[in-house]
């Protein structure tokens, strides 16, 4: 499987993500500079975490002009998989591939910590190797993680089962106290209507090895590989 890991000026998790794909999972992965405009030879596009353009003006706001954006949109329109992690998720909302918008965390402070997440939808190309309602422990590192969506769109997401992860406590309760940043309905990961574009706030690439504290994040990558294997067999 061939992965494209997009690098905008200011992205800083592209090396970490490529490391998991190449060194851990022995997959083909290229880091693509934002000025390129062709992704046709790639199976999956990852927009990794970081601070594209310094998160200046609004997180992800300045990335929408890069030539690579059209190629990402075309990739998604062809039904291929797109995964946005943290800053990548913010960019996907700014370019309209995912609904909603991000504001500063409610306490106005950056949060760098391991938090608990409940798998709400495990029948997606990104989460099939997890069990339903499974509780994951994954690192977060963001200042603008306060996900906003209006009430109509929220009902739509709930009805179409497009909320993939929600912030919860260690017992799996998606309570107000377990909400670290004020996101509507504790939303932490969202799928597009077609089901091939996922945006998630936690960093799975930082929790894929026991030595770093656990492998709860590995499942996202394994699910993608599984999905790709099945499609190739058809």
């Amino acid at each position: 499987m061939k992965f494209a890991v997009i690098q905008f000026p200011g992205t800083n998790c592209e090396i970490d993500t490529a490391y998991i794909l190449k060194d851990l999972l022995e997959q083909e992965a290229d880091i693509i500079w934002h000025m390129q405009d062709d992704l046709s030879s790639y199976d999956l596009v990852i927009l990794p975490g970081g601070s594209s353009y310094g998160d200046y003006l609004r997180t992800g706001a300045l990335a929408k002009f890069s030539p690579i954006i059209e190629a990402i949109k075309k990739h998604a329109e062809q039904g291929k998989l797109v995964l946005g992690i943290c800053n990548g998720f913010q960019i996907l909302t700014e370019i309209g591939l995912l609904p909603g918008a991000f504001m500063k965390n409610q306490n106005l402070k950056f949060i760098g910590d391991d938090l608990f997440f409940k798998v709400i939808n495990n029948s997606t190309p990104f989460t099939s190797s997890y069990s339903k309602e499974q509780i994951l422990k994954l690192p977060v590192a963001h200042l603008e993680g306060n996900y906003y969506i209006d009430s109509d769109q929220l009902k739509e997401l709930q009805a179409q089962n497009r909320i993939v992860l929600r912030y919860c406590n260690s017992q799996g309760l998606c309570s107000e106290q377990a909400n670290p940043n004020g996101s509507v309905d504790n939303i932490a990961a969202v799928l597009n209507e077609r089901g091939n574009v996922l945006g998630m706030m936690p960093h799975p690439e930082r929790m894929a090895e026991e030595i770093l504290g656990g492998q709860d994040g590995l499942g996202f990558f394994q699910s993608i590989l599984e999905y790709h294997k099945e499609r190739k067999e058809q």
Partner: protein, 83 residues
């Protein structure tokens, strides 16, 4: 000709602004009990080159929708005048 656009950007009314909310709490703890409400937004001043006032307005509106604001959560007001 040169035109200056003054843009006022506010969060849409239905959205709780974390910045204003936190600042109101600080005002209360500092003893400013006679402050009833606070609204915080961004303002921008942009200078553009354009053949006419109307085209300057169109250009700045485009800038607002494309980059300077996020229509999902922000509203904006624009005033343009020649400089």
């Amino acid at each position: 000709m040169k035109f200056q656009g003054k843009i006022k950007i506010k969060l849409r009314p239905s959205i709780l602004d974390p910045h204003a909310h936190a600042t109101m709490k600080v005002l209360q703890t500092q003893g400013y009990s006679n402050v009833e409400s606070l609204l915080i937004g961004k303002f921008m001043e942009v200078v553009v080159e354009a053949p006419s006032l109307e085209e300057a307005e169109n250009l700045i509106h485009l800038l607002c929708q494309e980059v300077l604001t996020n229509p999902i959560m922000e509203d904006y007001e624009l005033e343009v005048r020649e400089v």
